[in-house]
């Protein structure tokens, strides 16, 4: 993947007055933010603050109750938007990996590009080999997910998302279900991805990752973005009371 230059004029994702309710429960109350191409945005906040829901509204895995989410100028909230088309450019990595258990590692990576006729079987196989090598999983291509450790599963899941050649990657607590000794290997892959210019939105509890890799930090609470800014700055000198109280508990 070629290096991308951060271009402030080129807004990759624009979120305007995003609202999301589950029945009577209003999870997202008014979210506004803009994300540049190549930017790595880290979202933190207490559980129940709506950060995962926010992420899942970006590729509309959750129906959007109100407001707009523009991805490359396409309004995800518009019912006429061809979600299947837009989602091809938005990779997503889940807390619980969600690998397809009935397919081998390589088949997991190959499935979508072949089924969507973006690649031939041969091309997809070559791409899968390349991507699996990139995440350090070249020795396990024929294994089934049940034979892998958590960290290995998550690296395969990243390769699977990358197979569609996305220009945005969403990470929903990618290391939260991992044993501590496996967190590093996944973060390492994400770090490499970030350095290659991928636009990333990462919901995480890994403050070290936020500090080291994040271009911007969003702190969410009760359905709002309470504070945002340079991760190092926000983590060291939070301004809002709720940010201070949250960080005092996790740092």
């Amino acid at each position: 993947m070629a290096d991308k230059v951060i271009n402030k004029e080129n807004k990759k994702i624009v979120v305007e007055h995003l609202k999301k309710s589950f029945g009577h429960l209003e999870v997202l109350k008014d979210i506004n933010c803009e994300i540049d191409e190549g930017e790595v945005v880290v979202v933190i906040g207490p559980s129940g603050s709506g950060k995962s829901t926010f992420l899942r509204c970006i590729n509309r895995l959750e129906e959007i109750t109100g407001g707009h989410v523009y991805v490359d100028g396409t309004d995800m909230a518009d019912p006429k938007t061809d979600l299947n088309k837009v989602r091809r450019h938005i990779g997503m990595v889940f807390q619980h990996f969600n690998l397809f258990p009935h397919k081998t590692v390589k088949e997991n990576v190959m499935m979508a590009p072949v089924e969507l006729k973006i690649m031939t079987k041969e091309e997809a196989a070559a791409t899968a080999d390349r991507l699996l090598a990139r995440v350090g999983m070249q020795d396990k291509t024929d294994a089934y997910p049940s034979q892998l450790s958590g960290g290995q599963k998550q690296r395969v899941a990243i390769a699977r998302a990358l197979a569609m050649n996305p220009d945005i990657m969403l990470f929903d607590e990618p290391t939260s279900a991992l044993d501590p000794e496996m967190v590093g290997e996944v973060l390492e892959v994400m770090k490499t991805l970030a350095s290659q210019g991928m636009t990333m939105v990462v919901v995480t509890h890994e403050m070290g990752f936020a500090r080291e890799v994040g271009d911007r930090l969003l702190f969410m609470d009760e359905g709002y973005i309470i504070e945002e800014g340079d991760p190092v700055e926000v983590l060291a000198h939070p301004k809002e009371e709720r940010t201070i109280s949250f960080l005092s508990k996790v740092l």
Binding site: N59, L61, L83, N84, K85, V86, R87, R88, I90, G91, M92, F94, H96, N98, L99, F100, P101, H102, T104, M111, A112, E115, L116, A143, Y144, P145, S146, Q147, A157, R160, A161, M164
Partner: protein, 222 residues
């Protein structure tokens, strides 16, 4: 020892009628299961993603089948429907129709349960890659659901096979009816029903073994 000799003798004497009657049992069972599977898939999909009125029809259908005895369903369809609608239903057609409708309702529940048992994250992961609902169903959900359903489906096969014995009530000459006819002639109730029971048991024992083999073969990478 005498009883054993008697069983063997009677078994040999009546082997061919038993075999023919078992052929009938198999034909009704296999045909019914094919129709039941089709009905089951359709009804399951309707109840999962169909429009509301169709869903209601599906629910009523399942409720009726599960809430009434199979014997009543058999009598209703064979005697009730032709007299009300002035159509002629052959014994065989009525038998297959009843067993299909009955099996279909249970299959629908099995299939729906299987689909719902697949982790929600599977649908999300597949959709997030840009695959449609249909593609996801075919490539990701159904293969996994099928594996989970398999024991229940084979169990349903066994249940349907055994339930065909109730068709003797309307006179279909399957295994049980054939035995009843023989007993009416030779009065050897103990021996003949014993042979009949063993016949069912052997077939179902084999099916159970096959089902275990199939289950083992579908454990991915374990």
């Amino acid at each position: 020892m005498n009883i054993l000799v008697k069983i063997c003798t009677l078994f040999v004497t009546h082997f061919w009628t038993f075999l023919a009657a078992f052929g009938m049992t198999v034909r009704v069972t296999v045909l019914s299961l094919i129709f039941a599977t089709i009905i089951g898939i359709v009804v399951a999909l309707i109840r999962l993603v169909g429009p509301k009125p169709l869903k209601a029809v599906g629910n009523v259908y399942i409720s009726i089948i599960r809430g009434t005895p199979l014997m009543v369903q058999i009598l209703f369809i064979y005697f009730g429907i032709p007299s009300a609608l002035h159509v002629h239903l052959t014994l065989f057609a009525a038998s297959v129709l009843t067993m299909s409708l009955n099996g279909g309702a249970y299959m629908a529940e099995i299939i729906r349960g299987g689909i719902e048992a697949v982790d929600k994250g599977q649908m999300e992961a597949s959709r997030s890659l840009g695959l449609s609902y249909g593609q996801t169903m075919r490539l990701v959900i159904l293969p996994q659901a099928l594996r989970m359903m398999l024991p229940s489906i084979i169990n349903q096969f066994i249940v349907t096979l055994k339930d065909t014995s109730l068709l003797s009530a309307i006179g279909l000459r399957e295994l049980t009816q054939n035995t009843k006819i023989i007993v009416a002639n030779n009065m050897e109730a103990l021996t003949m029903y014993f042979i009949c029971g063993v016949w069912y048991w052997v077939v179902i024992f084999i099916l159970t073994r096959v089902s275990r083999l199939v289950e083992k073969r579908t454990q991915y990478g374990r």
